[in-house]
């Protein structure tokens, strides 16, 4: 057997990996992402004359499970599936909306302000809550699987290890440190996604984080599922309350914090009352001098 030089080896690795779409309407342009279950390419749909993303699953996935699952989830925060099929080499693929934007971890580097980050987080929760409502849990939520569009839209992507909420025990899937402890044991439910969202919330927070927000993230990512928020909506609601300056369920304000909140929410009123009192006192004590 003669020696296979590096150049030839790399070329063979490339050409055997590159999918053959010649019998389809798609023309592969470039690889844009690589996940645990497959590779995502940007492609040109010659039939509808538009750019799409095509995910080619690794060999061994006989059924396009991910495509079927995604096709059931029609939500603004989940990329719609356009088409699915098989390549000549047996690999499954599906075409979906091409998301123009940045991954969440890249977005966070550019967006330092907390309120926009938290509003983004609320949108992530909306998409995940929708999926839970349809009986699907993601199981691999992490900043790398969340895309932020050009106009602030949020997309939750890579549903490769997603499964039914009431599904049977599944092989351990997920990515530490976003993977809930129970996922390692092969059992996951909606609260596993709550755990991951809690970890993502921690990534969004400044250092040091505001105490109520840290408490929300801590509750969401508690080790015990029973100690977490019951569902994603409760988590999102608490974050919403924090954004509105309201007390949050996960944190009990101290007296100074309550007073500070009262002051923040009623500054004008308190200033007017204070001015009125000051004027009255001033006039009372100066009344004899004014005569």
């Amino acid at each position: 057997m003669s020696f296979l030089p590096d150049r030839a080896l790399d070329h063979l690795r490339d050409v055997t990996e590159t999918p053959d779409f010649s019998d389809t309407r798609y023309q592969v342009e470039e690889e844009i992402g690589r996940g645990g279950m497959g590779v995502v390419y940007r492609a040109w749909d010659a039939q509808l004359e538009r750019r799409v993303a095509v995910k080619v699953m690794n060999a061994g996935y006989a059924i396009n499970r991910e495509a079927k699952l995604l096709a059931q989830l029609e939500h603004p925060g989940i990329a719609p599936v356009y088409d699915a099929g098989s390549l000549p080499d047996g690999r499954c693929y599906y075409a979906m909306r091409l998301i123009q934007g940045r991954r969440l971890d890249e977005f966070l580097r550019a967006e330092p302000a907390l309120p926009p980050r938290l509003r983004l987080f609320e949108k992530i929760c909306e998409a995940v809550a929708f999926a839970h409502n349809r009986g699907v849990i993601h199981c691999d939520l992490k900043p790398q699987n969340i895309m932020v569009g050009e106009f602030g839209e949020v997309f939750v992507v890579d549903w490769g290890v997603a499964r039914a909420v009431d599904g049977a025990t599944a092989p351990a899937a997920g990515t530490p440190p976003y993977m809930a402890p129970e996922q390692s044991a092969g059992s996951a439910d909606a609260r596993s996604d709550v755990f991951a969202l809690g970890r993502i919330l921690r990534d969004l927070m400044p250092d040091p984080p505001p105490r109520p927000l840290a408490a929300i993230a801590g509750k969401a990512s508690a080790q015990e599922p029973a100690a977490r928020f019951g569902d994603v909506q409760q988590l999102a609601a608490d974050v919403g309350r924090y954004l509105d300056g309201q007390p949050v369920a996960a944190y009990r304000d101290t007296v100074p914090e309550r007073l500070a909140r009262f002051w923040r929410q009623n500054q004008v009123l308190l200033l007017l009352l204070g001015t009125y009192l000051a004027v009255k006192l001033f006039l009372y004590f100066l009344a004899p001098a004014l005569k």
């Binding site: 004008v268 007017l272 006039l283």
Partner: protein
């Protein structure tokens, strides 16, 4: 409750309280009934006007300005009326009236329901 109603009630209550503070001035203690009445009426009028403005203009700054302005005006009209001994209490009436007017204007912006836009 609509905004003019909120203004009227807030103005009447705050006006009565403002008038009640005159009790601390022995010289006018005998005129308390009249002071309370005119102070309440002044507050109600400011409140109704601010409420009407708040139905159309949704702006805290506008509410404060309108309340302060009308509060000052009506306080001046009340202060113009001399005491039985001929004394005028312009400063003692107009300055608190100005601040209270601003407070009434603020409350009409924050509270009460505005009519729905067509």
């Amino acid at each position: 409750m609509n905004k003019p109603m909120v203004g009227m009630i807030a103005g009447a209550v705050l006006g009565a309280i403002d008038g009640g503070t005159a009790w601390f001035v022995p010289a006018v203690r005998s005129e308390m009934e009249g002071i309370l009445m005119w102070s309440s009426v002044k507050g109600m009028l400011v409140g109704i006007i601010c409420g009407l403005i708040a139905r159309k203009v949704h702006s805290t700054a506008a509410g404060l300005a309108a309340g302060a302005g009308f509060g000052l005006l009506f306080a001046y009209l009340v202060a113009m009326m001399p005491e039985p001994d001929g004394t005028h209490y312009y400063l003692q009436i107009m300055v608190p009236g100005f601040v209270l007017g601003a407070l009434i204007g603020f409350l009409t912006q924050k509270m009460g329901t505005a009519p729905e836009k067509a």
